[in-house]
């Protein structure tokens, strides 16, 4: 573990973070690099040439691929060595997930197996359960699926109608119910299934395909990721041995939510892979396609698109790996007993629930943006199945829906910040008091220019944090516990928090590159950060004003608008040349420029 300061979850909103306290993708170790290259080589040789075959959704082929990833160790990154896994850090998890993310439908098959399918046992399984299942999940002998969703329990995940009743001899639970949208549903050998014991105790179970009373329904016909299996899973008097209860009776929500935290971070990393592919495919096509006697890559609007795709991906990548390393650092300071205790691990990950949700929302929207621009650059051909853009466009869309919709995550982000603030787990109140006294002396917006190429951006990140703090404080004060009901306000606060984490993660990365490699080598990093920050400042200010408009009126509101305008006063920079230099590099190398 590097010598980084450990911040608590959400602390980035109220503290200054230094470049040396964050991990950036350029910090990856030799081992990390090899792990990433191993996964990339697999995807290039086994997945990309077989995408059409994968799209046919044949169980035997999916199984053979999962076996191969098992042989390579790519299924067991998060599984401890003593249970047949590789026991690696979360940075490695993200690197493998990112590389596999370029693997179209198989990415979903693989990540459901290794993530939400396997992790509940890693974190919450008993010794016997871990010994029984994990080695075979790591090797790919068994495929896993995660069954939470039901027709009336989607975003409202705990509203499960599935029931579990202990048999009269006390040996088995009898499960009844129907789960829907289950990834790997037709292929899985092991299912993590939630059901309510005695009608109200939400509980996790490990259910094997061979148990009496479990079956898969018909394959769903989907918009995208057509090569992955998605079916209902039907429980009809399904007999599950009592020793297959996962964790404790009535504690299923802990499994569900904790696993989703890491699942969301993994999703945030998995979208970085295809975003990079989209940039590369877009550049190749733009270099080949000629109109008006010129390659379309020579046109400014195409350059603009290539640059924007890369800038978004840069931020998504920066914040996902920053979060992964923060989790690793926190896991690293657990004592020996804690390190081996899955539930302790899950708790350490939960600390960064806000950051994990941000990675999910920002990442999935980044990929959707990239594939949309990809289709646009391909023009008419982008709409034709023969070209890669069409499939990528369809495959991307699910990411904003599963692992908690982006709407649910947008409620969770400010909701968690506010809750932790009120519990004083996150010292938001102190930060607010400090900000108020700063405002009185009028020092909150003052900016001393220095020579560093990023000093203005550093200043603006601090300002945006202050604007958020002041807005969030006002919303909580006025709306009290009703705030959760005012979803539009929550969404605006969420957007502010997401943009702040993105701009700061990008900024710290560029700053670290600038400090270690010099201005010339950090040129593309600096350009990305300047453009992004330039573009989001008005968005943050506008959302802050909208929240104030909802909670204040009259003279007070007018004063708040003035304060925001004063704080966010910022002379826009000329971003066209910056976007162009990023685009030129993409056009030359035909790949993501970082």
């Amino acid at each position: 573990m590097a010598d980084r300061k450990i911040f608590i979850g959400g602390e980035f909103l109220i503290s200054d973070v230094l470049p040396e306290d964050v991990f950036i993708p350029e910090d990856i170790s030799r081992e990390h690099k090899m792990v990433y290259e191993s996964a990339v080589a697999f995807v290039k040789k086994e997945i990309i040439p077989n995408i059409e075959r994968i799209e046919e959704k044949k169980e035997s082929f999916a199984r053979s691929l999962i076996k191969k990833t098992g042989e390579l160790g790519l299924n067991g990154i998060d599984i401890p060595v003593e249970y047949g896994g590789e026991g690696m850090d979360k940075i490695s998890t993200c690197l493998v997930t990112e590389a596999m993310g370029a693997g179209a439908s198989f990415a979903v098959t693989h990540s459901s197996h290794t993530g939400i399918g396997t992790l509940p046992i890693v974190f919450f399984g008993t010794e016997d359960q871990k010994k029984k299942y994990l080695p075979k999940l790591a090797s790919g002998e068994l495929i896993a699926a995660y069954c939470l969703t039901e027709s009336s329990a989607g975003s409202d995940a705990l509203n499960s109608q599935s029931t579990a009743v202990l048999s009269s001899d006390g040996k088995n639970y009898i499960l009844n119910g129907e789960k829907i949208f289950i990834t790997n549903g037709a292929w899985a050998d092991v299912f993590i299934i939630y059901a309510k014991v005695d009608g109200d105790k939400f509980t996790g179970f490990i259910v094997e395909r061979g148990f009496t009373g479990i079956s898969s329904g018909a394959e769903e016909k989907k918009l995208g990721i057509k090569g992955s299996s998605t079916t209902p899973v039907i429980l009809k008097d399904c007999v599950v041995p009592a020793e297959n209860v996962l964790f404790e009776i009535g504690q299923g929500h802990k499994i569900a939510f904790n696993v989703l935290n890491i699942g969301r971070l993994k999703l945030g990393a998995s979208v970085v892979g295809p975003s990079k592919v989209a940039i590369s495919e877009a550049a190749k096509y733009a270099n080949m396609r000629e109109q008006f006697g010129r390659k379309i890559s020579s046109f400014g609007m195409i350059k603009n698109k290539l640059a924007d795709m890369s800038i978004m991906t840069y931020m998504a990548e920066s914040l996902a790996y920053r979060t992964a390393a923060a989790i690793d650092d926190r896991l690293g300071v657990l004592d020996e007993k804690g390190k081996k205790d899955g539930a302790e691990n899950a708790k350490a990950i939960e600390e960064y629930a806000v950051e994990c949700s941000i990675a999910k929302v920002f990442g999935s929207e980044c990929l959707d943006f990239c594939v949309d621009e990809l289709v646009q650059i391909f023009g008419g051909n982008g709409y034709i199945t023969e070209y890669p853009a069409e499939r990528m466009y369809r495959d991307s869309r699910i990411n904003r829906i599963f692992e908690g919709t982006n709407e649910v995550n947008r409620l969770l982000i400010p909701g968690t910040v506010v809750k932790r603030g009120l519990q004083n787990r996150l010292p938001v109140m102190n930060a607010l008091a400090k900000l108020e006294s700063e405002m009185k002396t009028d020092s909150a917006g003052s900016f001393k220019h220095d020579e560093s190429p990023l000093s203005l951006q550093e200043h603006m990140v601090k300002i945006c944090k202050k604007i958020h703090l002041m807005t969030c404080g006002a919303a909580v004060t006025k709306l009290l516990s009703n705030i959760a009901e005012e979803q539009e306000v929550m969404a605006m606060l969420a957007d502010m928090i997401i943009m702040i984490y993105a701009m700061e993660s990008g900024l710290l990365r560029a700053r670290k590159m600038l400090d270690s490699k010099g201005e010339q080598k950090a040129e593309y990093h600096i350009a990305a950060v300047k453009v992004y920050i330039n573009d989001v400042i008005p968005k943050i200010a506008s959302r802050a004003k909208q929240v104030f408009a909802f909670v204040e009126a009259g003279e007070t509101l007018y004063q708040k608008y003035e304060t925001i305008d004063r704080l966010a006063s910022y002379m826009p920079i000329n971003t066209i040349p910056m976007r162009r230099i990023i685009a030129e590099k993409i056009i030359k190398t035909q790949r993501y420029p970082y």
Partner: protein, 263 residues
Amino acid sequence: MEILVCVKRVPDTAENEISVNSSGSDIERGDLVYSVNEWDNYAVEEAIQIRDKVGGSVTVVSVGDAESEEVLRREMAMGADKGILLSDDAFTGSDGKGLATILKSEIIKGKYDLVFTGAQADDGAGQIGGMLAAMLDWPYASLVNRIELLDDKKIKIGREIAGGNQEINEIDLPCVLSIQTGINEPRYVGIRGIRKVASVEIPVHGASELGVNSASVGKASAKISKVDYFVPALGKGAELLEGSIEEKVEKLIELLKSKGGIK
């Protein structure tokens, strides 16, 4: 069987758009992605398979700068037992003979039965195997695509010759073989292998450890120098077939018939 495999870090031709720099003296190297030379991967795989069959060890060696260490480590993660980096400022700019001189100095320090090179390197001239064999005074076979172990004195090898024909030879040990792609299917690098080698120290041997006279290697001693790089002008003769797939197939068959390709 003690086997040494020479490997090289080269620009990855699958990953890069290779272009000539403005002065025409070299390719543009600013944004290149590097990887292990593809042919070398086959050589290492073959060495690993032989070792797994009859025992012994596989050593991978590379002449290059500190960054070449990553290809050695990659091949060790694949299964090679040991890596050695031959690196010295004096080695920079060596021609084929210079590189063979450096490699020979390392080889004679060990007791190797087999020395493999790739048939060629992406950025090389395919000289090293033959020169090494001459310097070592060992027998040499090029373009080897099949190896069969006979005893500890002799092996049988297959060579690819003109027209895709095969030639089978017996060759005395120790010997140098340049390995052709297709001899095997190189394995992937697995995570377990990576974990095993991630923190292994890879020894670096410079001119003095190798007893190489600095004047006999490097740019100053090179008798071959690259004087120009250019992309050839597109010639005529290519024809793009148009129409539906069926129409294209029809036209292709007609063309092949008219040129005598099929009857």
